[in-house]
Symmetry: C2
Subunit: 502 residues, 2 copies
Amino acid sequence: MTTSDRIKNAQLRAKVMSAEDAAALIENGEIVGMSGFTGSGYPKALPKALASRIEDAGEDLKIGLWTGASTGPELDGALAKANAIVSRMPYNSDPAGRDRINKGEIDYLDMHLSHVAPMVWEGFFGKLKTAVIEITGIREDGSLIPATSVGNNKTWIDCAERVILEVNSWHDERLEGMHDIYYGGALPPNRVPIPLVSADGKIGQTTFRCDPHKVVGVIETFLPDRNAPFSPIDETSRTIAGHLMDFLEHEMKMGRLTDRLLPLQSGVGNVANAVLDGLKDAPFHDLKAYTEVLQDGMLDLLDCGKLTFASATALSLSPEGAERFRNNLEFYRDKVLLRPTEISNHPEVIRRLGCISMNGMIEADIYGNVNSSLVMGSKIMNGIGGSGDFARNAFISMFVTPSTAKGGKISAIVPQASHVDHITQDVQVLITEQGLADLRGLSPKKRAEKIIENCSHPDYRPMLRDYYERAKRDSFGLQTPSLPSESLSWHQRFIETGSMLP
Amino acid sequence: MTTSDRIKNAQLRAKVMSAEDAAALIENGEIVGMSGFTGSGYPKALPKALASRIEDAGEDLKIGLWTGASTGPELDGALAKANAIVSRMPYNSDPAGRDRINKGEIDYLDMHLSHVAPMVWEGFFGKLKTAVIEITGIREDGSLIPATSVGNNKTWIDCAERVILEVNSWHDERLEGMHDIYYGGALPPNRVPIPLVSADGKIGQTTFRCDPHKVVGVIETFLPDRNAPFSPIDETSRTIAGHLMDFLEHEMKMGRLTDRLLPLQSGVGNVANAVLDGLKDAPFHDLKAYTEVLQDGMLDLLDCGKLTFASATALSLSPEGAERFRNNLEFYRDKVLLRPTEISNHPEVIRRLGCISMNGMIEADIYGNVNSSLVMGSKIMNGIGGSGDFARNAFISMFVTPSTAKGGKISAIVPQASHVDHITQDVQVLITEQGLADLRGLSPKKRAEKIIENCSHPDYRPMLRDYYERAKRDSFGLQTPSLPSESLSWHQRFIETGSMLP
C-alpha cells in the first residue's frame, strides 16, 4: 500500500511534497500550531526537517509553538534540542523542552486546556500563521480524517492562515468514524448550549473541515506515535487505588453514587493505572469515562466489559496498548470517541455530566491547596493541563500521590504549597498510600487535622503536627493558621540540602 | 395595610406566629438554611429571637448557619454576638462573625458560591433541618414571592425538612415578576443544558414552589434590608476606573470587543462603584450585566440608558438607592431580574455569555496569583464568594485594587501571595491606580515584569525589582523564579512590625 491511497482529494494530492520542502515554508519568528496530545497524533516529519534547517544548515530560526498538549521526541524533543522554540503553549512534558524552560530559554505559557481554543479565537494571542496537522487520511471532498488525537486541531485549521498536513499511514484507516468534531462553537454573544448530555453522545461530524486553498503542503509519512511504555503497577500505587476504591464503595453505600458511578476522568501515570486496574474487581458496572486521554488501563476496562464507553481527546497507549487497540479496533470502534479538547475539557460539560475526577499532584498543603506543576514553587514539571478544568467542575474532585518523593526526601504534604494550581475549594478528597482525607464540608482547620493524620508520611507527620500546633498558637488569624516565616522552609531546606528532613 | 394582606393562602395564613414562637422550634445543633445575599432579603426577626434565647434566657444553643452569602446585623451580627453559630457557610462579611472566625470560634466554610446548591443536593454536607426564608408575599396557590435576593432559597426550601417564612411587607409588592426561578436542575446523570443564552433570558418561574405541609411557621415583619451607605468615589478608585475604561476602549479598537461590550460582572466596593460611574461617559451603549449583585452604580447606568438589562441574584443598594429603586420600580421592572445563585454564578452560563469580570482583591503576586480572602494568609476578610466562578470563566478576568493599603504599610503587589484564590491562569488583567497590566499570552517572567512596572507602588517597586532580579539569579527553577526563604517575608514583617516596609 502506498501512502497516497490515503489522499483521495485530487486538489490536495497535487500538493504532496517532501517534509524538507514543507519545512522550508516556515518563517523565522512565526507562530505554528501543531497537532498532538499526550504523544499521539503529532506531526513527526516536518518538525525534524525544521530542526535540521538549524542544526545542519545553521539557519537562525525560532518559532512560537502551540499544540494540543504534550507531543513526542520528534516534535518537542527535536525542536527543543535545536533551540528552535521561543515560546510554547499550552503544555509540555518533553525533557529537553522542560530543561530549556527551567533555564529560562523558552517562554512557557502553561494554560487551562479548556481556555486555549476560545482565547485563540478571541484574538488574545496574536495571529496563528501555520497549522501543521497529522491526519489519518483525506476524503474525496477534501475533509480530513483525524488521527489518534484531536486536541486543538480544529481551531488551528480554522484560525491559521495556511495549513500543512502530514498524512500518516501508520494510523489505522478504521479510525474514521471514531471522532466527534463539534462545529457549533461561536464567539460571544452568539454562543449556545453545547448539546452533549452523556459521555457517549455525538454532537459533531467525523472529520475536520478544511478549505483546500489554505493547504500549502501535504507530507506523506509512515511513523509511529510515541507510545510511552507502560510501567508495572507498584505497591504504593496499589495501596492508593485501594483507598480510592473503598471511598467509592462507601459513597455508593451512602446513596451518593450508584453502582454505575458517574463518568470517570483519570490523569495519567502509575497511580492512575492502579486505580483503573482496581476498578476491574470493584462492584461497579456499566461505567463510562469522560476524560482527556485513553490509557492502557481504560482498554483493560473496556475489554472486561466494566467500561462501556470512553470519551477522550487523545489516545495515550503503550506500544503493546497501541497494538492491542489496532488488533481489536472493530470492538473499540463504537466504544471510544475522540473530541476536540475544547469539548472534552469544557466546564459546561464536565459539570453537567458530574465527572469523578482523579488527578496526580506534586504536593498539597495542610489546607488542601494543591500544586500540580512547579517543583519547589519554581521548576516546572509539566503543567496544569486539564486538571483545573476537571477539578473545579467535577462531582467529586480527588487528588492522589505517594506521600513522599525522592526516596523520602520530599514530603507531598507540606505546611504551605510552594505554588497553587488547585485551590482548597477545588479539592474534595486527598489520597496517599497512608490514607484518604474526605474534606467535603470541612472548614480549614478540620481539613488540616484530617490531611496531617490521614495522608502525611510518618517521617513528616510529627513535623506537620508541630508546625500546625504552633501556627494555631501564633498565627495572625485563625481561619487558616499559618506562620509565613517558616511555611515554605521545608522547600528552602530541600533546595539547600537536598532533603525536606532536618 | 396589614401585613396579612401579603399572605393569600389560607393554609399558610393559619400558621402565622410570633418570631419568638418560631425561634423556639429551632433545636440545638441543627443546621439552618437562611435566606440573604449581600444584605438583602435575609430574615430579620427569627434570628434576633434566636439570639434572645441565648442572651436573655441563657439557653445553650448553637446552630450551623447556611445562607446565600452575607446578610445583615440582625442575622449574622446578632447570632455571632450571641455565640450561636458553630459553623458557617458559604460567605460572611459581618464584623462580629469575622472576629469569631479569626479567633477560631466559628468553623467557616468559604466556598465557591456556584458549588453550594449542587453540593447540598449531592448530600455532601449533611441534612438541612430548617429553612428560614424572607419573602415578599404568598400567593393563593401557596407559591412564594421572592424578596430582594434569591441566593440559595430555592435549594433551602426544597432540601429542608421544614420551612419557616418571614413575610416582610417592607418589600415592595411589585417585586413580583422580577425573579426567574429555574426548576430545570437535576442531579447527574440527569442534568441537561441550562437554556439561558443571554443576560436577559427567562428560563424559570417568578415564584418559589413550596409544599405547604413543610411550613411550620409564618412570621409577619416590616423591617428594612441592611442597605449599607454608599461611600463617595475617591481619587484612587477613579484613577483605577480610568485605566479600566482605557483598556476596554483599546479592546474595542482592536476588534476584540464591540461598543456593546459583553455582559458585565462587577464586584462590590469603592473601585467597582468608580468603574460603573466611569461607564456613564464611556463610548459604549446597550450594555447588559450578568452579575451577582445590583449596586447603586448599576441603577445609575440603567437610569441613563447605558445599561439596558441587569441580571443578578440580589440587590445591594444604599438606603438612597433602595428608595430610588422603589420610586422607579415601574421603570426597573422589565430591566432587572434576580436568579438563584446556582444560575447567576454557573460556569456554564458565565462562559457561554462571555462575561467581562471585574473583582477586587487583597493582594496579587508578581506572577498574578490573586488572594481575595485571607489577610497575611490566615485572617479572613470575607471570602472567595463568586469571584472564582466568574474569574475562571470570564471572557476577560480583571482584578482591581489600590496598590497599597493601611496608609502605605501594605503592598498589594507582593513577591508571593500569602494565599491563593485565583491562580495565575485565571487572571488576565491587573489594575491599580499605578497602571494596568494586560497579562494575556504572557509567560510568568513577562507577567512579573509587567506587574512590577505597571501596577506596584513606587515605594515597593524597587524592593520587588530587587527580589525578582535575585530570584532570577538564585531560583531552583526559572519558570517562575522564586526564593522560598524570603517570598513571604513581607507578610512576616507586617505581622511583626505593622508594615511591609523595612
